[in-house]
Symmetry: C2
């Protein structure tokens, strides 16, 4: 009862239509997960025939993979610029943990979780996943290395610590996504865990993390 049968879509330039498709795919992914990004769901959202979406994309695997990459790289950029606002490595690490674990980005977490699962049957997506994980790792490793250089952290393998940290964050977010209220608040204890990994005194990391936290 809500579909005024679409007449004909406005004719647009390929570039414009392509980005419209990408945007639609992106918002569907964030709202309903990657699995909901289908030929027809994308077409419906921008009020266009399914065949048009197929015309613009080589195949759906590619669109899903590209959508995943877009969502995650946007998240990375956002966090990176947030980190840039803070002077010391300790602060940056604290902000990193806080912002990634406060539940603000649960929609992105859903995308991650579905990407891990779908990636087992979508090679292009699997490649995107590995690539974005590498990007994340590079960001975290950078923070850690600067902290080591500044004498705030202590480790001889910043790369591994970065991987470990990412794994922990992802796991806690996935867990929170499923339990949703049942589990303990994430983030309070991970501080001590990270202190342990980086040879910091107990409580040194999250002291005065956010001004009004």
């Amino acid at each position: 009862m809500s579909r005024p049968p679409r007449k004909k879509a406005e004719r647009k330039s390929p570039a414009e239509r392509a980005s419209e498709i990408a945007d639609a795919a992106r918002s569907i992914a964030l709202e309903q997960g990657l699995a909901a990004v289908t030929l027809r769901s994308v077409a419906t959202r921008i009020d266009v025939a399914p065949a048009l979406v197929a015309h613009y994309e080589p195949n759906m695997e590619a669109l899903v993979a590209a959508t995943f990459a877009g969502v995650v790289s946007a998240e990375i950029d956002e966090v990176v610029s947030l980190l840039a606002e803070h002077p010391t490595p300790r602060e940056r690490l604290a902000v990193l943990l806080t912002t990634l674990l406060d539940g603000t980005r649960d929609d992105v977490t859903v995308v991650w979780v579905e990407a891990w699962a779908l990636g087992r049957r979508n090679d292009a997506l699997a490649a995107s996943v590995r690539q974005q994980m590498d990007s994340w790792q590079a960001v975290v490793q950078g923070v850690i290395e600067s902290g080591v250089a500044a004498g705030e952290f202590e480790t001889d393998d910043a790369a591994s610590v970065a991987w470990q940290l990412l794994g922990m964050i992802d796991g806690l977010n996935a867990q929170a996504l499923v339990l949703w209220g049942e589990a303990a608040s994430r983030g309070s204890l991970i501080g001590h865990a990270v202190e342990g990994m980086l040879g910091m005194p107990r409580g040194a990391l999250l002291v005065a993390a956010s001004p009004a936290g």
Copy 2:
């Protein structure tokens, strides 16, 4: 070229057939993931008509949920009995981390990851996931509490530490599943993380963890 067209399935007792179906679903889940557990894949594996599987199960959601629960509860039982072989809480915790992070159970990790994703569209599965997470948490919490009582660990919230620990383990396993060789070895650093969470001296946890490790 490999299907001698099935003639007729042997007639079996309901109990026997039901467990045969459960077993088939279980092995499919471990070999190919939960998403591969379909009416037809299960029927094919036990060489039976799809309708028979439907006859034994109220619906596929239920079978998938039950299969997940079966896989995970078996894993829990296995780990619990492994823990029972070790006397001190510190050893038990070390064994717990080691056995869950050595890659031995990657097939179960796949099931977990797909359960998180599929659970968003399968309520019965979502309920099973929450239930099994609770079971896991209880096991870990028990280890931690015994360690606190023995004066080996230090925390005033064993429940939260258990949740945190599980989240970390799940995340690291999921990560290892995707990267598979690219990432650092899991488990070496988590020891220090856990030491941080439980107020232990650096290196105290994984010393002499496994006899020949």
